[in-house]
């Protein structure tokens, strides 16, 4: 039996809005096996980010069972989080942003130096190590955020609409890079997106969420995800259309069924 790296049962979570507690998630059940790529898609305000914050250990105000590798989620553990605007600190250079997580984990200087050089080289950022985030393009910033997460060798990579502010080509390019990284590391990934094509391209499991309060309305196994040549295929477009109608309130039916 496959080991579920993420296991969520009957999750109810709140978030604070103007001093009031708002129920963001209700009766959420979700499981994702170790080493799989999951994608959550749903309308704005359906609590997707709250769900990710719970899994990252940033939101403790929840009831129900949430387990990450059979443990309740904690900050700074084996989980890395990439936020929508990347969360890079503008006052730190690329190098200093990337090493921050290792510094916080009190790693030795030679260890930090070696790991940083390796990860920056892998993501094509070594020549930009001394630059500040403001001097980078959106795609480069995204790579820095990925580098900052990967350097910690996480077991779970959470991403909150990480490509939303990129143009279409940069978005596809970085989706491919992410896929390559996954192939090398086999890290468990859970990604939030508004983009249907992105969900179909990346998500081995696609979780469709409803809004107010958010819960999972459909869980889709997507066997075609992860094929670099998928985007131009008819099946890809068909699945995108099916997912689109599902988001509009219809039922999803398996392609070819």
């Amino acid at each position: 039996m496959e080991h579920n790296y993420i296991s969520i049962k009957s999750l109810k979570a709140d978030y604070r809005q103007k001093k009031q507690s708002v129920v963001a998630l209700e009766s959420v059940d979700l499981s994702l096996p170790k080493g799989q790529r999951g994608v959550i898609i749903g309308p704005s305000g359906c609590g997707k980010s709250t769900l990710l914050n719970v899994l990252a250990g940033l939101n403790q105000s929840y009831t129900g069972q949430v387990l990450v590798d059979n443990q309740p989620p904690i900050c700074g553990g084996k989980t890395a989080l990439i936020l929508q605007e990347y969360g890079l600190l503008p006052w730190k250079t690329v190098w200093d942003n990337v090493i921050l997580g290792m510094e916080l984990r009190k790693k030795s200087s030679p260890e930090i130096k070696e790991a940083t050089q390796k990860v920056l080289e892998k993501l094509g950022l070594l020549s930009m190590a001394k630059r500040y985030p403001v001097q980078l393009s959106g795609g480069q910033r995204q790579r820095v955020a990925i580098a900052r997460a990967l350097i910690l060798e996480p077991q779970l990579l959470l991403m909150d609409e990480p490509f939303s502010s990129l143009d279409a080509l940069s978005r596809e390019e970085i989706q491919d890079s992410l896929l390559k990284i996954w192939e090398e590391t086999r890290v468990t990934m859970l990604l939030i997106t508004h983009n249907i094509e992105e969900a179909v391209f990346l998500g081995q499991k696609i979780f469709v969420m409803s809004s107010c309060p958010g819960h999972i309305v459909q869980e889709i196994e997507n066997r075609m995800a992860g094929d670099y040549n998928l985007r131009g295929r008819v099946q890809f477009l068909e699945m995108c259309n099916q997912l689109r109608s599902c988001l509009r309130g219809g039922e999803y039916y398996a392609a070819g069924a």
Binding site: Q84, L89, P90, R131, Y132
Partner: protein, 254 residues
Amino acid sequence: MQQGHKTTGKTFAFLSSVVILLLIWWLVSLILKNPAVPPPLDALKSFVSAIQRELFTHLGVSLYRVLVSLFLATIMGVPLGIFLGKNPEIDEKIAPMIYLTYPIPKVVFMPIFLIVLGIGDTSKIVLITLITFYQILVTTRDAAKNLEKEYVLSVRSLGAGSWELYRHVYLPGCLPAILTSLRLGLGTAMAVLFLAETYATQTGIGFFIMDSLSRMNYEGMFAGIIAMGLMGFILYLMLDGAEKVLCAWKQRAS
């Protein structure tokens, strides 16, 4: 190349401003023909002569009072401001007190400080510290409160505790606002310093200016004014330099 043009342009603009100000001063002195407004050259000669004598000591005393006051205001205002900005629930309880006391012109407490703390440096330093402390506190608190939540979330997700958040997020994130408040505070501190040094003291540039006035030594008075202006200008330049070094990322953005 472009950077070089920018620097030359700035230097030219600065020198032009100096020349224009000196011209205005010279014209005013010509029009008024009053010994209270000597021409720039006479005043500068007087400044050079006075600084070689007693003015230098007065300048040292005033500089000491301003620097100690700004230092005390910073080490109290910055941590408290960041703490309140980071903890809105505590700020909510403290904010009404700041709101009520902030608009009170603290300079009115000068007589009380003179009575309670004596006529020495302490009363003057406490007065300047109190006034600049509020400016630094309010600006820093607002900067910490308005810091992008993403910065905090992303660093927390990396496992940062409270102290590390102060170190990596709040302090560097608030630094531009802190330096701006220090620059504004410096102007206020100089004004209050002048006032504080005109009563019950025989040291400081404020005393030197008023003493020269009472002896109708207008050139000496202007030497004191130049000394005070130069002190403010040099301190302002130092803060500007500190911002260039400490907030290098801001320069890259522009």
